[in-house]
Symmetry: C2
Subunit: 393 residues, 2 copies
Amino acid sequence: MKDFLYYTPTEVVFGKESEKKVAELVLKYGGHKVLVHYGGKSAKKSGLLDEVCDCLQKGGIDFVTLGGVVPNPRLSLVHQGIDIVRREKIDFLLAVGGGSVIDSAKAIAYGAVYDGEVWDFYTGKASPKDCMPVACVLTIPAAGSEMSESSVITNEDGDIKLGYSNDICRPKFAIMNPERTFTLPPYQTAAGVTDIMMHTMERYFSHDDDMTLTDNIAEAILRTMKESVHAVLENPTDYRNRAQNMWGGSLAHNGLTGCGLTGDWATHQIEHELSAMFDATHGAGLAVIWLSWAKYVYKENISRFVKFAVNVMDVPNDFTDPEGTALKGIERMRTFYRSIGMPTTIHELIGREITDEEIQEMARKCTLNDTVPQGNFKVLRAEDIVQIYRMAR
Amino acid sequence: MKDFLYYTPTEVVFGKESEKKVAELVLKYGGHKVLVHYGGKSAKKSGLLDEVCDCLQKGGIDFVTLGGVVPNPRLSLVHQGIDIVRREKIDFLLAVGGGSVIDSAKAIAYGAVYDGEVWDFYTGKASPKDCMPVACVLTIPAAGSEMSESSVITNEDGDIKLGYSNDICRPKFAIMNPERTFTLPPYQTAAGVTDIMMHTMERYFSHDDDMTLTDNIAEAILRTMKESVHAVLENPTDYRNRAQNMWGGSLAHNGLTGCGLTGDWATHQIEHELSAMFDATHGAGLAVIWLSWAKYVYKENISRFVKFAVNVMDVPNDFTDPEGTALKGIERMRTFYRSIGMPTTIHELIGREITDEEIQEMARKCTLNDTVPQGNFKVLRAEDIVQIYRMAR
């Protein structure tokens, strides 16, 4: 079993009308002048943004707003945010939205207290010593950024999407009201749950197979997500299952599902190239890539895939044919993805055939010209990743 | 589903040789002069206390030691600790031991920064505004105090055992090295796991039955603990299963297993009187009381007990006889407790017949003269608690 650190300091305030506590929480964590960061129409249209700003105003907290975060959040907006924070003497960042908004806020939080270029943290050229306080009002269960130490930013200059992780950016508080997710469209709902499940699966597919406690918790989360996503697709205002998705999203990525395990993360890395190049929805891209990744790597540890098939996908265990059982688990995952409206090929994801040149380019970028292999379950070179993209066509 | 708060700021450093990081962690959390608080022989005999003190010394951190914490930790030692903290200008409390030592440290941490009597927090006469930083090197997986907000202290003046909970006392860090639990005797090992399981079960037996995610995680923890305690009783140096017990102890009581649920806690309250009056081992007392409590209350929500029987105790579900299935679950728990050497009657626990006068006195104390009922699954008056003690004789 691997030694581990577990650190989840974020105060979670979960439930109906929890957004009404936003001013009180900002004050508790030392905020006096807030940058309210958000995305596009939905935060405005739903009235949430106005409610949050109202609440801050009534609480006597000064604020400035910065909208316009898009999925695969852009470095250029991060730079704008840094300028505003400095100019307006902001001391607290409040993200109102989903993972992209929170990730963008984290990047601003790193950059605003750093003299150099914030992108250097993402490329590994520099390490932050400090970070402004970040918190969020979550509207999309998916990325898990509301409790996590990670942030993923896309540099438009070259379509490079890179993640950076550091405990110092973990949000101070996360407000989660499942009612605020009632209006999430089916595709975003399903892509979100796919991302949630993948955060668990990236850790679950590990060669450390002696931490049964973590495995059992991971399987509990995966089984619950599978059920609850079907329930909310049938009835978008099902509070109970929206709540399960929302809380599952945080637990899947706050570190809990990785205690004692190595983790793989190749599916995420391989997908990042797809969403950077085609601006595809991250969760949907994960569905496509995981199926292909799983078929490419399952022989590395068939028993792990058998465990997944039996304990998560409810495949009857054929003890005489472990490989068959493992493969049935992967096939059942394909059926599940289809049942929630996720694509299972790159063609379905991007709406056209992908070319071999594009595949080669993505594989090169993903491995920094074959200098940085990806994954742990099976360590993948550029040529492996080319195969995985091809199998996903 | 109940709204909930989830706040677990404790930095967990888990694994082999993790105690070597103690000085670095004390400095990280602002400690300069430490009170090292511990229990009796075992911390000394094992060499752990010396190693911790050595590490502090090498890290340039001044410290004072205070040993002598006993199970059901005493208020008198808390008072001594408060005096030392003030006299020696201590700014950090480090507990080296199990739940009793951590609970005692938390009480010192409240009391040292309060002008009045610390016991007033436990009786509800006053509320703390502040608390000194507390951290721990854990040696006994059981109480969960290493990540929890609670502390239980016994006032020898009247054998009154009371708990107090407040987020401000959650430890800054918890060092957990499963190897340090190898020497734990079988009775303490089993009583510890009984306590761990009960922290989950107190929350699980709830009338809120719509938070499947929390239920599934709770069941995952319970099933893992059941298996791992047998493994470590067979082989005390089984690192993997000692680790699962240790981490399970933290997860069972850091709040995770209660998200969205009301919780009951009657078994703990009823047991507290037993261990206060007879100085019984808390975990062993819980085994005795839970069986009796379960038989007394199961009709309040038979389906919940059926779920427990089937999903945790592996009872085949007899769909034609829910009550029979529920009762089989309770009986299988009795068999489990016996299999790990836990008592299942008060006679076995305290070594003699309990008198009806003693029962009446405990029930009176437990309900503050029948003014404060206990529990939520079924709200229990003094007369109910008398019945539960009698059924447990």
